[in-house]
């Protein structure tokens, strides 16, 4: 497949830029479990090298999302204070490369594993301030009308119910066994709903440690927008704060800065005064949503649809952690 894909790509890209190109490298990289991601170097003209990232939809992926969602979300933040890659092209049909895809320029920087403690040391303070501030910027940004309208069809109010119904459905469709902790968590959320937000915003959907690029003390790009949607900005904040992303140092979400400091930066950047009780609801929701994703991954693996070990790994380790988070919430509320 990579050889076939690389030759299809070369032919497609030469047509796109209307120049003869040569492929200098074409390498699959780890870009999450929902897309096949390739790092590409293309040469053309004299000594001109372009570094590109190609994201191709997988037949079977951890989270089923369409390519257009990610493309539109990236489009919404081009040339803004939220750093995102420059988009080059997108195709929803499979005629060109055998599957829908999105093409963008490569950004400098590296992404860390969200499960490695102190991975951002010694720059955790500078990166932490940027990480929480950018999240506030995502919520604050007025989204261009045509992009906003494209996302609007998916939005049913209240936002909390829209999201909870969606993820509870995934849990019930993909669960291989009964998990009483998870069911009790879902019931608790339905019984104690939060308020609706003052303003509907763009929600990244997977804003967390591991989904941004950084170069020393600078965040260079926010990635993986395939679960973007309109909704309550507290959803993103709670997901990023989830203890799963700093399991070995829960006081410093995402292994960056202290939780209270993170919330303060987010409030200043987003201009949103958060309600702590509502945030607590979204924090429990984050664990339920996480469980839905991990269960879905486990189902892919067990059914043989996708035996990438990341799927089993997700079902085991993050699944364990989020169950424990749900149990902690339930005990606190009793």
């Amino acid at each position: 497949m990579p050889e076939e894909l690389s030759s299809l790509f070369l032919s497609y890209y030469s047509k796109l830029i209307e120049k003869e190109c040569i492929l200098l490298s074409f390498e699959r990289i780890f870009g999450g479990a929902s897309r096949e991601t390739y790092k590409i170097e293309v040469g053309h003209d004299v000594n001109k090298i372009e570094r590109l990232i190609l994201r191709v939809t997988q037949d079977s992926s951890l989270i089923e999302t369409d390519q257009k969602t990610e493309y539109l979300a990236y489009s919404a933040y081009q040339d803004s204070s939220v750093p995102v890659p420059v988009l080059l092209d997108m195709s929803e049909d499979s005629d060109i490369l055998g599957a829908p895809f999105m093409l963008m320029k490569e950004l400098q920087g590296a992404a860390a594993s969200p499960f490695t403690p102190n991975v951002y040391s010694p720059h955790e303070v500078e990166l932490g301030e940027q990480f929480w501030s950018i999240l506030g910027e995502i919520a604050k940004k007025e989204i261009q009308e045509d992009i906003f309208k494209s996302f609007l069809s998916e939005l049913k109010e209240p936002c909390w119910k829209n999201e909870l119904d969606k993820w509870a459905k995934v849990v019930h469709e993909d669960s291989i066994g009964v998990e009483p902790i998870l069911e009790a968590g879902i019931r608790s959320l339905y019984k104690n709903p939060p308020k609706e937000p003052e303003r509907i915003t763009m929600v990244h959907g997977d804003y967390r440690s591991g989904n941004f690029l950084y170069l020393e003390n600078q965040i260079t790009g926010i990635l993986d927008w395939e679960m973007a949607h309109l909704g309550n900005p507290l959803e993103d904040l709670a997901w990023a704060l989830s203890p799963i992303w700093s399991w070995q140092d829960k006081e410093r979400p995402a292994y960056l800065i202290e939780k209270e400091q993170a919330i303060e930066i987010w409030q200043n950047s987003s201009n949103i005064n958060l309600d702590r009780k509502d945030l607590e609801w979204w924090e429990l929701f984050a664990a339920i949503k996480g469980m839905a994703i991990w269960i879905s991954a486990g189902n892919e693996f067990k059914s043989g649809k996708n035996i990438d070990p990341i799927n089993l790994f997700s079902a085991w380790i993050p699944g364990d952690i989020h169950l424990e988070v749900i149990l902690d919430f339930l005990e606190d509320r009793l």
């Binding site: 390498e27 499960f115 066994g177 070995q248 070990p309 990341i310 790994f313 380790i317 364990d320």
Partner: protein, 148 residues
């Protein structure tokens, strides 16, 4: 036979992580192989007590059902679970486990409706014990150690 399985899995994991994975240049394939190494390592660590843990979990759920709900052993057997002292294989124990977990879930709904704090508190304690025996997340440190 049994101890050899543990040792074989542990050694296989070590070989994958430390010996074969570094030989691969392709970033994605390397990451994928390392993940397999981690999964085999976790399997080796949990292999020894998986059967006794499941057996204990079933006994604990049964005890909770009998103590905090109106169900007796006859009621529970109507759902397909039979109390037995015979040694069972893991797949049979797992089938029983799903029946018992389903009953635990349904009875918790009853307790929530009745506001039975004592029963719910006991159910959380039970679920924490169940989770504690099953979880593998405490092996994350070990995985990081083996990768480094």
């Amino acid at each position: 036979m049994k101890p050899d399985i543990n040792i074989a899995l542990l050694n296989a994991a070590q070989e994958i992580i430390n010996r074969f994975s570094p030989l691969i240049d392709d970033e994605y394939e390397k990451s994928r192989l390392s993940s397999w190494g981690a999964i085999i390592l976790i399997s080796a660590m949990k292999f020894n007590d998986s059967s006794s843990s499941l057996n204990q979990e079933n006994a604990d759920i049964l005890e909770w059902l009998l103590k905090f709900t109106n169900l007796d052993e006859d009621d529970i057997s109507e759902y397909g679970y039979e109390v037995t002292s015979e040694i069972q294989d893991i797949s049979l124990m797992d089938t029983d486990n799903q029946i018992l977990r389903g009953l635990l879930d349904r009875q918790m709904i009853v307790l929530e409706g009745n506001g039975d704090t004592e029963g719910l508190k006991a159910s959380y304690t039970l679920m924490r014990a169940m989770h504690g025996r099953r979880k593998v997340s405490d092996l994350v440190g070990l995985l990081q150690q083996s990768e480094s």
